[in-house]
Assembly symmetry: C2
């Protein structure tokens, strides 16, 4: 049986859906290359490949909001991963919201439905 | 305020995470172009862009397992969508499992953790 995701397509990157094991909320979407996958499996902490910065990053390296991996699921085509995590610091999004999906689309455009968990200025000191 | 996702990057495609509103399970990952987005909003049924077949498809067109859209959320960068749906026919995956993420990664490779909901041979008649 195949042992792990297939990194041979799409420039060696696979999308990773991140879900909180606590409340089942979808927190974010990120990408992994094979190195990020290996580091994640080895350490139990979520590592991703940043497409904008073109480098490996461990989630929480600046904010301290690490994601502890509780379960790794792969999809039918072996080219997408669902990472079920315990989110330290209660928020995954750099905006301070628990989830990156904090806005709902409706007839009047986008409406904020998430609750802010921290002030980004305090956390990132930028 | 911006009214909808940004289709200007990545060949006009955005990844769409699909989650069941019933049990909060992540069902699948698909892609939308702007036309798929418009059709989804207009009809309330999930439409996607198939990268392998290079065409628009409405989820369930063959199986009858339509996804009724209950909530649309967009991420902080406006380039990923979280579609919260009611999954008709109880399964989203063409393999017959409820979720495409029916296998768990562990020390011994991949282990099936999902329950099959239908027999693909019966549903797709292929």
């Amino acid at each position: 049986m195949t042992l792990k995701p297939d990194f041979s397509k799409h420039d060696g990157l696979i999308p990773v859906i991140v879900q909180s094991v606590g409340n089942e909320k979808v927190l974010m979407l990120a990408y992994m290359n094979e190195l990020a996958w290996e580091k994640t499996v080895e350490t139990g902490k979520a590592h991703y490949w940043s497409r904008s910065r073109q480098r490996l990053w461990v989630k929480g390296e600046e904010s301290g909001h690490t994601q502890l991996v509780r379960e790794i699921l792969v999809d039918c085509d072996l080219d997408t991963v669902l990472l079920r995590v315990e989110q330290l610091g209660s928020a995954a999004c750099h905006t301070g919201y628990e989830s990156c999906f904090y806005r709902r689309y409706g007839n009047n455009g986008l409406e904020i439905v998430g609750e802010p968990m921290f002030d980004p200025k305090e956390v990132y000191k930028k």
